[in-house]
């Protein structure tokens, strides 16, 4: 009897939604098709955690599930959700995720897969690619690998992936992905973590879950799920400064918490790949390199006094030289970019400036790196562009002793 109950809830599909009336129907339908078509022997449950939609998202999810069983959760809401728009677009996302994971634990699920309700391109196959390694091969955590244009997801390619890889030694290429599958063992681990009620958890929870796994002893995998497109939850897009402050701030806050762990890690290991890679990435709008470089040049003139608090004098001089050169020959060296990111991480820890100011002053440097990256990869194919990102990640690994030494002896921050 107990085995039957356990088998009934072996797989839990958790959907998180907020104003996703446009896309939630197809997402629920895909989840239902996956449960019946791909995991018929397991039979699971669909759980919807809606974060206060007012556009009929929940009603459309009910319609899509039809005669099937939809468990609806109403995560608690907070007035602080109204104050800041998170980059992922779901206010109170950590509470929603926690509610789903707690349900998975209560139902003793063998595997749990989380999917964001805003995704347009989700198919039943997605669930199979994400869950199969957990269900059949005892993997604990499977993140998706979206096939993207080399210009898309630049913050992930240029900062988040190389930093997570260098710090925790695992090559998770898209650690900020909103979708993932995890084992029952990992559900327990997540729920035992102490970050759920921390400041900024509602913003940085996706990254914190990934680093929590990377910093512990779990089996990790990556599933190539193809192209990822989604609808815009808000009419007004978040500006780049706020996006960087949220994403990089979450990462730096986590780095501060796990200092003892990442200082012991050397090198990195690849994670096992699943799914089917797509040959051609989707087209992406081409960013204006001139404008990105001009932003970098303006900042190197106007923000030098602020950067002096964070970066060593040698880096400031090198940046100035780069800004004075012609745009066509502009190249921001990988090692230099890695050291800049590490210096900002240390500045964040030491609070050399108000943290919001510090993170926002990174924006023009990121624009400079992005311009340099585009100039280097625009003549390359997708595979060569990916290799360029791998080279950058290697530079982050090579420069890690620089971070460790400054972390241990911060008085050297403004020297050298």
């Amino acid at each position: 009897m107990a085995d039957a109950a356990r088998a009934k809830n072996a797989l839990l599909v958790g959907l998180i939604s907020f104003q996703d009336g446009e896309t939630i129907g197809p997402v629920v339908a895909a989840a239902r098709a996956a449960l019946t078509g791909h995991f018929g022997d397991l039979a699971g449950r669909i759980v919807l955690a809606d974060c206060g939609s007012t556009d009929g998202t929940v009603a459309r999810a009910r319609e899509a599930v039809g005669s099937g069983d939809l468990l609806e959760l109403s995560p608690p809401r907070s007035t602080s959700d109204l104050l800041e728009q998170p980059y992922h677009g779901v206010p109170g996302k950590a509470r929603a995720l926690r509610a789903i994971l707690a349900t998975a634990r209560d139902l003793e699920s063998r595997a749990c897969v989380i999917v964001d309700g805003k995704v347009r391109t989700v198919t039943p196959q997605w669930f199979d690619w994400l869950c199969r390694p957990v269900v059949d091969h005892d993997f604990d955590y499977v993140l998706p690998y979206y096939h993207r244009h080399p210009y898309a997801g630049a913050l992930t390619r240029g900062l988040v992936y190389p930093l997570v890889r260098a710090l925790y030694g695992v090559r998770l290429r898209q650690p900020a992905a909103a979708e993932f599958a995890c084992s029952g063992r990992l559900v327990e681990h997540f729920l035992d973590e102490d970050f759920w009620d921390r400041e900024a958890s509602q913003v940085g929870i996706d990254l914190w879950l990934a680093t929590s796994v990377a910093a512990a002893d779990f089996r990790l995998g990556e599933a190539a799920v193809g192209i990822h497109t989604h609808h815009a939850r808000s009419e007004a897009a978040l500006d780049l400064g706020t996006t960087i402050a949220q994403v990089v701030g979450s990462l730096f806050a986590d780095l501060e918490r796990r200092a003892a762990r990442w200082q012991r890690t050397r090198g990195s290991v690849p994670v096992q790949q699943f799914g089917t890679p797509v040959a051609e990435p989707p087209p992406a709008s081409s960013p204006d390199v001139e404008r990105l470089f001009e932003s970098f040049r303006l900042a190197s003139r106007e923000l030098r006094d602020i950067w002096t608090w964070v970066l060593p004098p040698r880096t400031i001089v090198d940046l100035r030289k780069l800004a004075d050169g012609p745009v066509a020959q502009f190249r921001l060296d990988d090692e230099m970019w890695a050291r800049i990111v590490y210096d900002f991480a240390l500045g964040y820890r030491l609070r050399v400036l108000p943290r919001d100011h510090l993170l926002r002053s990174l924006v023009p440097l990121y624009s400079g790196w992005w311009a340099s990256f585009i100039l280097q990869v625009r003549a390359l194919d997708a595979a060569a562009a990916d290799q360029r990102v791998e080279d950058l990640a290697m530079a982050f690994e090579a420069q890690k002793p620089y971070l460790i030494s400054r972390w241990r002896w911060p008085e050297r921050l403004r020297s050298g």
Partner: protein
């Protein structure tokens, strides 16, 4: 006659001796108060300086915009605060000592100055608070304006900084009652003049430039919307 003169002289001598006798303990108390105050001021100056140094106060003060390097390169914020503490204690001791002399004028002066001290402290707090807010806002605006690609980012940041500083200074001076009416008038004229000048400049001279800038801003925002950085 001579006897009368001698008696008067003796009486005068007695009065002088009595007056000096009455005054001398006051002087003694004054000197003791001054000596104790000096000792306390010296000890406090040294303690405050050491305490602030151990708290890395100079670096933090610079961060908050209380850097003195541009005005007095040889002095730091901790030295300044230690000096303020030293001279404040010494002045208070002097005023306290004056009351011990039991002289009407210095005593009244001492009382009125002591009554003024809370206003001075409040004005000082307003000044320091204004300086911190000005520096914070100036930096936030500079970073924001640079991120928006505005070439005049530093000018905007400096304008805001000085506006906040002027407001803080006006509030501080008003609090200690210096030139209240003149200050109010000058401030009104200055602010009104700046706003009017800006309105005329934008309305007459830079209408098309503003329109172009807004147009560019809107177009660039819509182009950015299509890029997913994460």
């Amino acid at each position: 006659m001579v006897e009368q003169f001698n008696r008067a002289l003796g009486l005068a001598n007695t009065r002088i001796v009595e007056a000096v006798g009455n005054f001398l303990p006051g002087v003694l108390v004054f000197l003791v108060v001054l000596a104790v105050t000096l000792a306390v001021a010296l000890v406090l100056r040294s303690t405050v300086r050491r305490g602030l140094n151990s708290l890395d106060f100079d670096r933090r003060a610079e961060l908050l915009g209380m850097s003195l390097a541009s005005w007095t390169p040889s002095h730091s914020a901790s030295t300044l605060i230690a000096s303020i503490v030293y001279w404040t204690i010494l002045t208070l001791g002097l005023l306290l000592g004056l009351t011990a002399l039991d002289a009407a004028l210095p005593s009244q002066f001492a009382v009125s100055v002591l009554e003024y001290v809370p206003h001075l402290l409040a004005a000082l707090a307003i000044g320091v608070g204004g300086g911190i807010v000005a520096r914070y806002l100036a930096r936030a605006i500079l970073i924001g304006a640079v991120n928006m690609g505005m070439q005049s980012a530093r000018l905007i940041s400096l304008t805001v900084k000085w506006l906040v500083l002027i407001v803080a200074a006006a509030m501080a001076l008003d609090h200690i009652g210096i030139g209240r009416t003149v200050l109010l008038l000058a401030f009104g004229i200055l602010f009104g003049g700046v706003v009017l000048a800006c309105a005329i400049a934008v309305g007459l001279g830079a209408r098309e430039a503003v329109s172009r800038a807004l147009d560019r801003q809107l177009r660039e925002a819509s182009r950015d919307d299509t890029v997913n950085h994460v």
